[in-house]
């Protein structure tokens, strides 16, 4: 922990040094960026844009995880459905994010629905692939046990299947979050008039690096905090039954 902190301080020091060498317009010093953050926060523009972007992340992420999990389980458990779905999955996996985004905007208009769908659709195939792996690895012995003890489907899902899928869901969550929050910015840049991505786009047009960083850094901070304080504890919670490594 201490080492990490030191490393972070070193990065800021390097940034400070570099900003002194470079023209300050291209790389403003840390304190200047902090000042812009303060200004944007004071006008509430920062909060509004962060909240807007986070809402889009949340909706797109939830949608992709939910549908991806359902389809993943389905494809992992049924050979027929897997053969049917696999070509679609391969196409979706290999479709560049940009193509999906543009098509969504063209077909659905420059709306929030299009934006969120485009993000979700980019994440969806990865979730399916990860969860499908998990569904294929389900223990048939436990399934037989659940059958002979006539467990109702709710019990089987919650206590037999979900715990086995949990590591895969956690992996999909982790990978998904980092994918989604990166793509959200692109989607906002291309077709929305608010959000962190939009602000970064404006900063780019004005060549205002301080403004760009003032939006990018708090956003990255929030996503890292979610990862550290939500995703990782969730992972630990679902794997608490594993015998601790000596």
């Amino acid at each position: 922990m201490l080492l990490r902190l030191l490393s972070l301080l070193l990065l800021i020091a390097l940034w400070q040094a570099a900003s002194m060498v470079a023209a300050s317009r291209l790389l403003p010093p840390p304190l200047a960026v902090l000042a812009v953050i303060g200004r944007e926060a004071h006008s509430h523009a920062l909060y509004f844009n962060l909240a807007t972007t986070l809402a889009r992340v949340a909706v797109a992420f939830t949608l992709a995880m939910l549908l991806g999990t359902i389809f993943g389980i389905w494809m992992g458990r049924s050979a027929t459905f897997n053969r049917l779905g696999d070509p679609w999955l391969v196409i979706l996996l290999n479709l560049p994010a940009l193509v999906i985004i543009v098509l969504a905007y063209v077909w659905l208009g420059l709306t929030d629905v299009a934006a969120v769908l485009a993000v979700a659709l980019n994440k969806f195939p990865n979730t399916v692939v990860t969860i499908r792996e998990g569904a294929r690895a389900l223990d048939p012995g436990l399934e037989e046990m659940a059958t002979v003890f006539a467990m109702p489907w709710q019990t089987r899902f919650k206590h037999v299947m979900l715990p086995q899928l949990a590591p895969y869901i956690a992996a999909a969550t982790r990978a998904g979050l980092s994918l989604v929050w990166k793509i959200v910015l692109v989607v906002e840049l291309m077709g929305r008039s608010n959000g962190v991505g939009f602000e970064i786009g404006s900063a780019f047009q004005l060549f205002d690096v301080a403004l760009l960083l003032a939006y990018a850094l708090p956003f990255v901070g929030i996503m890292l905090a979610i990862e550290t304080f939500l995703v990782q504890p969730f992972e630990r919670h679902v794997s608490r039954w594993r015998p601790k490594a000596a």
Binding site: L142, E144, H159, P163
Partner: protein
């Protein structure tokens, strides 16, 4: 039709059960095999490894329907099963494992059952924290927790130390006797079969068939050393006669 009051609990007839072998052929495990269990009695099915005991159990409990023949159970038979491996949910505590299998059972009854089977101190442990013997105890408790009227046990005491195996076995026999649960116990331990069963069914030859059917007239606590020795000699004679 069976007459009223017929004490039969289960009848199974397997005309043929075969597995597909890796080389494309078929391996026949059971042929023209029939078995009847008497209500409320403990039956030990004794036979060497690989003779189709587990296969037969899977047919009886309905996990394997890919065979020619039929299984006849009285309506609303509740089957308690102990698999060859404990098959517990590793991510749920011992108590939760019992509760999930027997949601209608009272917690006091589950606790009592766990005490009887020597796992009372481990109700809040995860299965990964148990020894094999304790895990087997949980699997036995789970099968009994649903208050079954048919209990199917697949070598539940194997690879436990002798003392523990004996203690668990006599606990189970006592519980089963008290509740009059029809029981089918698979084992390859002849002494264990003699100690526990009312009826001993000897499995031999391939495809498997029952080569001996011994009624134990002095079962369990009524058993004398002399009677046990005689029964063992009788079994030995049958096995010697049928082995080639």
């Amino acid at each position: 039709m069976s007459p009223v009051g017929d004490p039969k609990q289960l009848e199974v007839f397997v005309r043929r059960k075969a597995f597909h072998a890796a080389n494309g052929g078929q391996r026949e495990v059971l042929r023209d095999f029939s078995l009847t269990l008497e209500a409320g009695k403990i039956h030990a099915l004794v036979g060497p490894s690989g003779y189709g005991k587990t296969t037969l159990l899977r047919i009886i409990i309905g996990l394997d329907r890919d065979f020619e023949g039929w299984v006849r159970l009285p309506p609303e038979t509740k089957i308690g099963v102990v698999f060859q491996e404990p098959r517990l949910l590793p991510w749920r505590s011992v108590l939760d494992n019992l509760k999930l299998a027997a949601p209608l059972a009272a917690v006091e009854d589950l606790t009592k059952l766990a005490d009887d089977l020597g796992i009372g101190d481990h109700l809040h442990n995860f299965p990964g924290e148990l020894s094999l013997g304790q895990a087997r105890g949980v699997a036995l408790a789970r099968a009994l927790a649903i208050a079954p009227n048919l209990l199917v046990l697949d070598e539940p005491f194997v690879s436990l130390d002798e003392a523990l195996a004996r203690r668990l076995a006599s606990e189970v026999a006592m519980l089963v006797e008290r509740r009059l649960v029809t029981t089918l116990l698979v084992t390859h331990d002849i002494d264990e079969a003699i100690r526990l069963a009312d009826h001993i069914l000897l499995l031999g030859r391939r495809p498997a068939e029952i080569v001996g059917n011994i009624d134990v007239t002095l079962p369990r606590r009524a058993m004398t050393a002399d009677y046990a020795a005689k029964t063992k000699a009788q079994i030995g004679a049958i096995l010697a006669e049928t082995s080639v």
